[in-house]
């Protein structure tokens, strides 16, 4: 029994450690990706990265598709709806803005 608990803890710690590593690397990457942005693109870039933050839709899908009874139904529906608004609206509005920058 004690062994089982120890094993569980180990597994948990390993995955937490791995996730933290991924987190730090992604943060560093995020700092590097955007260095110089012409002011023209500030708004579309903000709007585009806002659409990307709609990635929480992944979590929303897992809740909505899960088997947690009424929680899945109520919270899942809310989460999926909110996240979809963010994703669909975000990408479309960014595209609409960028479509206006026609080159001559």
């Amino acid at each position: 029994m004690d062994l089982l608990v120890a094993q569980l803890d180990n597994e948990m710690l390993t995955s937490l450690g791995r996730n933290l590593g991924v987190f730090i690397l992604a943060i560093l990457l995020g700092f590097e990706v955007i260095v110089k942005v012409p002011p023209t693109l500030h708004t579309p870039l903000m709007s585009g990265s806002n659409a990307i933050s709609g990635i929480s839709i992944v979590g929303a899908l897992l809740v909505a598709g899960g088997d947690f009874g009424w929680i899945s139904i109520v919270f899942g529906f809310l989460a999926v709806t909110f996240a979809t608004i963010n994703v669909v609206g975000g990408f479309l509005v960014t595209d609409r803005m960028l479509a206006m920058f026609k080159r001559r």
Binding site: H42, A51, I52, L62, D67, T81, V88, A99, F101
Partner: protein, 500 residues
């Protein structure tokens, strides 16, 4: 796209390898291998999606590739969604379908119908929506009867709720400020601060962090989780309210960074690498973008967040100061004559142009004068309008040649320019920002239009602009005011020019 997702949903709902796995030990072994393989494939697909998001973001930052970058990111997102649906944790498709249809319709209609002037508000709302999704997912995970609530999970859940809720209510306040809403006669765009607001905020932040730590040690403390939701929502309002409407673009950008971090925290809750990578990516790059925007206004992020900028404090003094000063007015006919005599012209557009939808007629005016060999350029301030790049978007819509758009670097040329035509801009041409150390916007870079030989300001009234600050430019000797709606006024000038 919908049909593919449906197919995938059906696949996901079908009994997986586990169902058969109970049959015998040998089969269990195979089942385990299968699900391990599936998990590996799922992880790879998430990784691929994350790579696409990184490249999409990178491409978005450069004018040539921006539009494609947006599409690359969208494809990355689609892959992440499809992979999630394939994952066997999904049991029923109906709730998902309902949410996707409702949310998709709202998002689509909003994105299609919002006018270009309303863009900043729209981004704020979308952003709040994303924050809400993260918070709701974390709340659902906490109250999910099926999951074992472990300390490390409740820590992530607490953080996710905190950041998510701050994003939601903060974005809503930003939206209200950008819209110029009023409550009981109080203009929300003004900085609204309680006495000792910063202390209150600090105490609340420490309090909520304490609650999260407590929840980590005592995962079953439901009251603490509820309290985190409430305090975080309150914090979002209190942190945003003291910041003036003119600084909202920076706030929206910062809140965007937050919503990325909220998604990242959700990733820790669900132990989902795709969420962690994409969320922290947006969190970090959003912070950089916020920094770039602050730099364009020559202010520090801390200075912006401290708020109090652009208060209507000097309203009474402002009226007094106005007396004894004379304002020169002009009609369209005279303005046309001034322009006819000019050899060089700089047009400085602002939010007023956006509101009046005057970009097309302004572009026509520029074309007309260029045909008559007037040297025309546009002075685009980095923060003109309500969002950086706002003017560029509008003028691009009106087909203005990109090469005519100039940055603040054209300031040294101002004294040689015959006419400066300010169309609905205010704070970005306020000489106080350069000359008056007592001014709230002192230090912000401006266009030195007051150094041009003649300045014409097209504006609806003498009211202070969005930042709520008086502008001495309007009372200078070389300034004349063209009172009226920008579109109407410029249209009249164009027809005068054509008939002359």
């Amino acid at each position: 796209m919908l049909t593919t997702s449906l197919l995938l949903l059906a696949q996901a709902a079908a009994p997986g390898p586990e169902a058969a796995a109970d049959a015998s030990d040998a089969l269990t072994q195979i089942g385990r291998q299968d699900s391990a393989l599936l998990k590996f494939v799922v992880d790879l697909a998430y990784l691929f999606a994350a790579v696409l998001l990184v490249f999409g973001l990178k491409m978005l930052a450069s004018p040539r590739t921006a539009r494609r970058g947006n599409m690359v990111a969208a494809v990355g997102m689609l892959i992440a969604i499809v992979v999630t649906l394939l994952d066997q944790q999904i049991v029923g498709p109906w709730v998902i379908l309902a949410g996707v249809i409702v949310g998709g319709l709202i998002g689509m209609v909003a994105a299609r119908t919002v006018p270009m002037t309303g863009m900043p508000e729209m981004v704020a709302l979308f952003n709040g929506s994303g924050g809400a999704a993260s918070a709701v997912v974390a709340i659902a995970e906490y109250w999910n009867p099926g999951s074992v609530v472990r300390g490390d999970l409740t820590f992530s859940i607490g953080l996710s709720i905190l950041i998510g809720m701050v994003t939601v209510t903060g974005s809503l306040v930003a939206f209200a400020k950008l819209r110029g809403m009023t409550i009981a006669g109080v203009r929300l765009g003004n900085p609204l601060a309680l006495p000792g607001q910063h202390v209150i905020n600090l105490v609340l932040i420490l309090f909520v962090l304490g609650l999260i730590v407590y929840l980590t040690g005592t995962p079953g403390a439901t009251w603490a989780a509820v309290l985190i939701i409430v305090v975080a929502a309150l914090l979002g309002v209190l942190l945003t309210a003291p910041i003036g409407g003119a600084d909202m673009p920076v706030v929206v950008s910062l809140l965007n960074s937050y919503s990325g971090l909220a998604a990242c925290a959700t990733g820790f809750v669900l132990e989902n690498t795709g969420l962690i990578v994409s969320g922290s990516l947006v969190g970090a790059s959003g912070l950089i973008l916020t920094q770039i925007m602050c730099k364009a206004m020559d202010r520090s992020l801390l200075n912006v967040l401290a708020g109090g900028f652009g208060q209507d404090t000097a309203a009474a003094g402002g009226t007094e100061a106005r007396e004894g000063l004379t304002v020169r007015k002009m009609g369209a006919e005279e303005a046309a004559m001034v322009l006819e005599a000019a050899q060089s012209l700089v047009i400085v557009p602002g939010y007023g142009m956006a509101v009046a939808q005057a970009q097309h007629i302004v572009a026509e005016l520029a074309d007309l004068l260029r045909d008559r060999d007037v040297n025309v350029m546009f002075g685009i301030h980095p923060v003109a309008g309500r969002m950086p790049g706002h003017m560029n978007v509008l003028l691009a819509e009106a087909n203005v040649d990109y090469e005519l758009l100039r940055d603040l670097d054209c300031n040294p040329e101002m004294p040689q320019i015959d006419v400066a035509l300010v169309v609905g801009a205010n704070d970005v041409v306020n000489p106080d920002a350069r000359d008056n150390p007592g001014s709230q916007i002192y230090g912000m870079p401006i266009f030195d239009v007051d150094r041009c030989k003649t300045v014409m300001v097209c504006k609806r009234s003498l009211n202070p602009g969005f930042a709520g600050i008086e502008n001495p430019l309007f009372f200078k000797e070389n300034t004349t005011m063209l009172f009226g709606d920008a579109k109407k006024m410029i249209t009249e000038i164009v027809s005068e020019l054509k008939s002359a």
